[in-house]
Each structure stands twice: as C-alpha cells, then as structure tokens.
Symmetry: C2
Subunit: 318 residues, 2 copies
C-alpha cells in the first residue's frame, strides 16, 4: 500500500482499536410457530467477539453459535452492523460494534445446549402477530401511548408528524398494516421510551408488553424479522425452514408464521405451483385431519436456475 502515506490522516493508533461482536438471529419454524434461538434464559441472542482465530466473520459466527447452542448454522446472511450508541456509560471504554447475521434452520430434537433454547419471536414482539387480526394490545395499549407521546410535545406541527409516523408504521387510523416495518415499529417505540431497554438506560416509565433483551439484541432481532419478512416475498428462503417433505398447507403456515398474517389458500397454491418451486414426492401426508394432502419437496433445481433471480409469494408488496 504505497499510497498510504498520501493520506497521513489515516494513521491508526492503538486507541482506535475496537472490538467486534458477532450476533446471530437464528430462526426456525416449528408447526406454525416462528422461533429464534436464545441464550441467557431467553434474554440474549447467540453472540461472541470476533476473535483472532476466526478466519472470517461468518466462520466466527458459526463457531459461536455452535459453541453456545449446539446447533449448526445453515443458510446465513449478514444483517447490519451496529455501533453501540455510546450507551456503555464508560467514556473510556473502547468502541464496540456488533455485526449481526440472519440464519435459517430447522429446530431439531434434543439439540439445545445448557442455556440455549428456542423462543417464540412473538414473545418479544407481541404486536407483530396479526394472524388472528390485529392484536388487542395495539388498540388498547400501543395506540394510546403513542398518541400521548405525540401530544407530549408543544409544537402542533411536530405533534402531527409524530402521530402520522406512528399511524403509518403501526397501521393505525384505518391505514394498512405492513408487516415489513417491524424494525421501524421497534425504533418508534424505543424513541417514544415505551420499551424497557430504553427505560433501563435513560429512565422513563416502561410500557408496552413484549419481552426485553440484553443490550441491542431486540433491535437486532427486529432487523432480522423485517429482513426475513421482506425476503420471503422474492427469494425461496422459506424452504430453508421446512423439513424435507411437507404439504402445501404446512408451507403456507410457515409463511404465515413469519409474515404474521394470513394468505389466501388457493392463490398461495397457485403461485407455488406456477413457479415450479416444489415437486410431488408421490407420498401423501398421514396422520392428518380432513382430506389427506400430497407431500411435496423443494425442487433443488430452482436454486441453480434462479438463486440469483427471483420468486414470488402472495404477500402483496404495496
């Protein structure tokens, strides 16, 4: 790098060394329940520092997740890199950044480590599950508190802006619910100091139901949920979460679990079959109620043909 000396500002001092944490949002769906892998009594995501021994960020992540949960990591994609917003309190503490990843697997029997367990992601975000209609806490708790937050400023224009933002992100005032805004919703609640994590740091009265997590972990989880909800609409990633063989209804239930909303059954099947994402195994599902369904498997060919390209699921993007 002979041109380094052309940028003398770039001198790196020991002071500028930092620490990087790797954090995993590891998702599985077991009969219609979306789950994430947690440690520390369901209060934290699997994570650990990026160490010298790690050959790459992903390798480091895999090492930590397997060590802490006993679960191997399959599909992985990077989510976001956060820097602690100087929350540590100690001004002399070194910078600490978190590099977060989304992982998709299947829940497997008896593979949980000592302190590792699967937890429903809706325990952390109860307002995100709209499969049985808008959850009660939205109208009963969240909307009023956000209204109060909006009114708590003097300027009327700002009041209006705040409330509009709340209404858009939470689908209030007759607006449509948009499941992809999970992260924006969390950040709005955080901003409004309705979240224990925030209260913990800066005071205020906590507020909205939903389990808190260590540090930034719930924000990272929200990032993962939002990303996954967006991604299932145009990439065949749901199949990473399915067993080898499944019925179309099971597939639909998984999609619904992730999206937190229901889809039209016939249209769902039409779309899946049109795109030739699956193929029949020939077998039928046993031990079911009602008319037995055909079993399908993911058609591996699509990965080669379209890994790069696209796929659609009937969750409107408008």
């Amino acid at each position: 790098m002979s041109n380094l000396n052309k940028r003398p500002q770039k001198t790196v001092t020991a002071l500028d060394a930092i620490t990087a944490d790797l954090v995993a949002v590891l998702v599985a769906v077991t009969d219609g329940h979306p789950k994430i892998m947690t440690i520390d009594h369901a209060a934290a995501l699997p994570s650990g520092p990026f160490q010298f021994a790690h050959r790459s960020l992903q390798m480091g992540l895999r090492a930590w997740v397997e060590a802490q949960t006993g679960h191997p990591l399959g599909y992985v994609e990077q989510l976001y890199t956060f820097a602690d917003r100087g929350r540590s309190g100690d001004p002399d503490a070194p910078h600490r950044i978190s590099i977060s990843y989304l992982g998709l697997t299947r829940e497997e029997e008896g593979r949980e480590g000592a302190d590792a367990q699967w937890s429903s992601w809706y325990d952390y975000f109860p307002w995100e599950d709209h499969r049985d209609g808008p959850p009660a806490i939205l109208a009963k708790i969240i909307a009023p508190k956000l209204k109060a937050w909006a009114r708590s400023v003097d300027e009327p224009a700002l009041q209006k802006t705040r409330w509009r933002r709340a209404a858009i992100t939470f689908g209030l005032d007759g607006r449509e619910w948009n499941e992809e805004l999970a992260l924006q919703r969390y950040e709005l609640l955080y901003e409004a100091a309705l979240i224990p994590e925030r209260v913990r740091e800066q005071g205020g009265e906590a507020a909205v139901p939903g389990r808190a997590m260590t540090g930034d972990h719930r924000r990272i989880l929200a990032t993962g949920i939002a990303r996954l909800r967006a991604k299932i609409k145009y990439r065949p990633v749901v199949f990473e979460l399915m067993p080898d063989e499944f019925t179309l209804l099971q597939l639909q239930r998984s999609v619904e679990a992730l999206a937190g909303r229901l889809v039209h059954k016939q249209n769902f099947r039409r779309l899946i079959e049109q795109q030739e994402l699956v193929e029949e195994t020939g077998a039928m599902a046993t031990d079911t109620i009602g008319r037995p369904a055909k079993l399908f498997r993911f058609r591996q060919g699509v990965l080669a043909e379209r890994a790069v390209v696209g796929t659609k699921l009937p969750l409107s993007r408008s």
Copy 2:
C-alpha cells in the same frame, strides 16, 4: 452485564482487538452520467479508520468523506461489512474489517479536494452500461473468457454449473440482462480470475477491461451499485441525486444512468405522475432543443407520507 460470567468463552483478549475502516460509495448523477467520488487518482473510495473520537459509525464516515473530498454527505445508508479475506499476507496482522456505506449527493462545482475527483462508475464496470444495447465487450471478451473458465475444470457437471451461472448473471445464451446483479457479476469475474485485483494477489492472467481499485474497493462499489439499482425501484431515492428543479426527461435520464438501461418514456411519466412524486414548479425548462418541458420539483410530502412505504419505477423486477 452480570451474566457475562455465564459465558466464560466470551473473554476478550487484547489480541481480539481489530481495526474498522469506514468506506463510502458516494454517488452523483450529472447530466446522465453516474459518478462516484474517488481519491488516490481514482483508485480508491473515500475511507478511513473508525476512530475513538467518532461518536458513531456514520459520524466517522462523514468526517472522513468531508476531510478527503470536501464534499458534505447527505443521504447515507449502510451497505455491508467485509472482513479482509486474510489477503494482507501478514499472518500476524490484526483483523481489519470494512464497514461500507452508500451516499447520494449532487455534484457541486469546485468542491473537489486535492486528490478527490468524480469518476464515471462505468469506468470501473464497463459491462454494466446497457443503455445503448449490450456492450461489445460482453460478447467479445467476457463471454468467451467465462466459457473458457467453465471449460477449465474436468467434471462436466461442474462445467455446466459454471456456465449456467455465468449465463444467468451476465444474461448470455439469450437470457435477460438483470441490472441488479452487478455484485454477482463482479464476484463471478473475480472467481474466474478475470479481474486485476485477483490477479494481483494470486496470479493468473488479467483479463477484462474495467479500471481496478485498491483492496476491496471495487467490490464495495459493485455492492453500492447493486443496492442503488434495486432501491430506486421501490424508494424515492433518485431525487437525492436531482437538482431542485428538473424536467421529467432529466429524471428519466438519471434513472437510466443508474440502471444502465433505457425505460419507456410514456410509461415512465405515467408512473411518476400517478404516484404524485413530483409537482410542477410552474416554470418551463429553457435552453432546450425541441418542445420545452415543464419543470418539476420533488414533492417533499411523500417523504412524510411514504418514506417508510414505497414507490415504483418502471424497471421490471422480474
């Protein structure tokens, strides 16, 4: 963090300290030419280490970009975090990661720093500009070299997989060109050792036209291009690149410059007006050839109404 002691593996030693670089892909479009801000004689992106003094990653980035280029940073979003693939050669060197960002601005007169300049992004990726049809180097140079690369392995199945991958990402064999695959294309060329950056490190004969950059910077640029090309289709970000007032044709030319492909004029206007993204200023464009066009400005309201939601541009996503 009382529960830290429950995870003894998490001990952080001095050895695990790392350095983080902040890298910016700063984009502007000046009369139909997409440009990026570069330093070091157009061989590197603005960048510098994340330092103790920086209050956040974005603040650090802004500091570096303004110091190196004199250009203030407007719209910014995070791109990706790369870890050097251990390319430094020195096994004792500390880990170094790059946190990259995409920034959008307007090119302003006389604001270039000593070593900072705007460069056309197609200088670095000549195969990405399809506004005048598929560029000649695709059929003349890239396709044959990729075919050779595919054939250079013994196993026929692998040959086929390689070639299919090349055909899909580059739109060969009669397949459709997909402008969003800019990153995959760069990575494929890299893998095939057709890129100077790769040759520089591991030997092989370089290959494909297109200016190289320092370290990972061209990969980061490809990431930025791909992200921006995807994003203009569903978020009103093009306007960050436009002057205050513009004609619809200028807007269209900017979109085309970024996407590297042409769009249907009438449909473009229909979509822009339908969505009420712009409003007339009342004035007309002067100094033009042909019938004078109305001047428009971006309707700021949409940011409040739909910042979170969406917008469409007529670049099909299929």
